[in-house]
């Protein structure tokens, strides 16, 4: 089980790199192209 400290450090790494948003996109089949947030069928 993660400790609160490990959890917060993990959150820090994700949040700092804008990764939370990117991971969310990847999981839901979306992607970013030249700033536009797109999904399959858009291109």
């Amino acid at each position: 089980m993660y400790s609160r400290r490990s959890f917060l450090i993990g959150l820090f790494v994700l949040a700092q790199a804008g990764l939370l948003f990117r991971i969310h996109l990847k999981k839901s089949g979306k992607f970013v192209r030249q700033g536009w947030v797109l999904q399959e069928g858009d291109v």
């Binding site: 797109l38 999904q39 291109v43």
Partner: protein, 478 residues
């Protein structure tokens, strides 16, 4: 009546029921409400009837941490306080703002929204506004709500100047800068005020209320407590701590198939937020999303760009544009900052003002969880747009990059200064109790957004006025 303390240093009233320090929305509302019930008030204003450089410079200070605007430009020091240059956006704090939120133990009020609700109609009257249109749930599954705000044009120093001038019960003393509070250990006995020539006098009152603003309330309590060798504020209280803003950033642009309402004083914009259930599911504090209409040339530019990058999405948007449905907007997200101990108001150790009082040093940083709020809100809104085919977002580079936040002009700044003398049930968690009384004194109170334990998503002035009306009722019955 008005007294200019620069001109008549010996004309302070000998005694009064209430001494209110600060004539912004918090102090002015309180003074006028006490007057309405026949109580005598000395209303002290550090500035004059108009802006002056010598008053303005007293608001200088340093910000340690994240990018912020110069503190002397983030507030106004004259009759009416910062309402002299506010935007007038008025919106109620939500139910959720007051409640306990899992994982955010310190973002909770010791009172509930229903404790402020009785003062809402009168607060709106003070601000010359009506109730906004009802909220509309745009999408139940995604928990997206449209909300409207009311726009106040009230400048307190202008609107209420004549009433103060003709008042039989309020003596408004301008150019009267609070420089000390004398306490006998349990009660404040007198407030020391000093004019811009360095001459001082004392105000004696049964009750004292600091309504000096979201930074100065902390600074002056810290200073007066220091002068009183720590006998003014209970030493366990987190004085100056948990200071907050509403971080707000332009995160990009959008092409949306959503109706952008026209507004009375500003460019057309659509304000969105989430339902309480969604905030709780996402595990974030409150936020708002503003879609601000851009000129049609901007919309055309976005369309061309989208057609190049994603032809099918571009075709869809262009077909809607032909029917005048799609709209190009700027995308702005603002949110409730997590209240944390480390964000605080401190007295400078090296810089002092003309009265020998340390200047303010504001230690302020957004936390990682603040960034999580931004990103999860963005994800939820994007999911809604895509699932319902209501639009596409084009995000600025910094949102997905590693460079943190933009840091120029007033990026990230809402000019909402909250916390520092937060309200709590216990002294370990707050500086004032549920009635805004300072822990450690029986007759010293604080009014204004410095008592907010959490900021919610609403612009604070309406809640400030509600709290002052509530405080007036408490003091009338004290």
């Amino acid at each position: 009546m008005f007294v200019d303390f620069n001109l008549s240093v010996n004309s302070l009233p000998k005694s009064t029921d209430f001494c209110v320090v600060g004539s912004g929305p918090a102090g002015m509302t309180l003074a006028l409400e006490l007057e309405r019930h026949g109580r005598s008030v000395v209303l002290l204003e550090g500035g004059g009837l108009e802006w002056s450089p010598e008053s303005h410079e007293l608001y200088r200070g340093d910000v340690i941490g994240d990018h912020y605007v110069a503190l002397e430009f983030a507030r106004a020091r004259l009759l009416g306080g910062t309402s002299g240059h506010w935007g007038g956006w008025s919106y109620q704090l939500t139910d959720l703002a007051f409640k306990k939120k899992a994982g955010f133990e310190d973002a909770q009020w010791p009172i509930e929204k229903k404790d402020l609700d009785p003062f809402l109609p009168q607060a709106r009257s003070v601000l010359d506004i009506g109730p906004p249109a009802d909220e509309v749930v745009l999408d139940g599954e995604f928990g997206i709500k449209e909300f409207r705000i009311s726009y106040s044009r009230v400048r307190f120093g202008q609107k209420y100047r004549e009433r103060l001038a003709s008042s039989q019960h309020i003596t408004c003393v301008t150019n009267a800068n609070l420089t000390g509070l004398k306490t006998d250990g349990r009660n404040v006995v007198a407030a020391t005020v000093t004019n811009f020539m360095g001459q001082s006098g004392s105000v004696y009152a049964k009750y004292f209320v600091l309504a000096m603003g979201g930074i100065e309330n902390s600074r002056m309590l810290l200073w007066c407590n220091h002068q009183a060798n720590g006998h003014l504020v209970d030493s366990r209280a987190p004085l100056g701590r948990y200071w907050m803003e509403h971080p707000a950033y332009t995160v990009g642009h959008a092409l949306v198939d959503l109706k952008i309402p026209k507004t009375e004083y500003f460019r057309p914009h659509l304000l969105l937020t989430f339902t309480e259930a969604v905030f709780r599911k996402l595990g974030i504090l409150e936020c708002s999303i503003a879609l601000e209409e851009i000129p049609s040339s901007g919309t055309k530019g976005l369309l061309k760009d989208l057609i190049c990058v994603a032809p099918k999405a571009g075709e869809w948007a262009a077909s809607l544009a032909g029917k005048n449905i799609v709209c190009g907007t700027k995308l702005i997200i603002g949110w409730e900052q997590e209240p944390v101990w480390s964000n605080h108001v401190k007295l400078s150790e090296t810089k002092r003002d003309r009265f020998g009082i340390p200047l303010v040093e504001l230690h302020w940083k957004k936390t990682d969880r603040d960034r999580v709020t931004l990103e999860k809100a963005l994800s939820q809104f994007n999911d809604f747009l895509m699932a319902r085919n209501r639009g596409r977002l084009k995000l600025d580079d910094w949102v997905l990059g590693k460079g943190g936040y933009p840091a120029s002009a007033d990026d990230g700044v809402s000019y909402h200064h909250m916390g520092g003398t937060r309200m709590a049930s216990t002294v370990e968690k707050g500086v004032v109790d549920q009635n805004c009384r300072v822990f450690g004194q029986d007759n010293l109170y604080v009014a204004g957004s410095s008592v907010f334990p959490s900021g919610g998503e609403a612009n604070p002035t309406l809640a400030i006025v509600q709290l002052s009306l509530r405080l007036a009722e408490h003091l009338r019955n004290a």
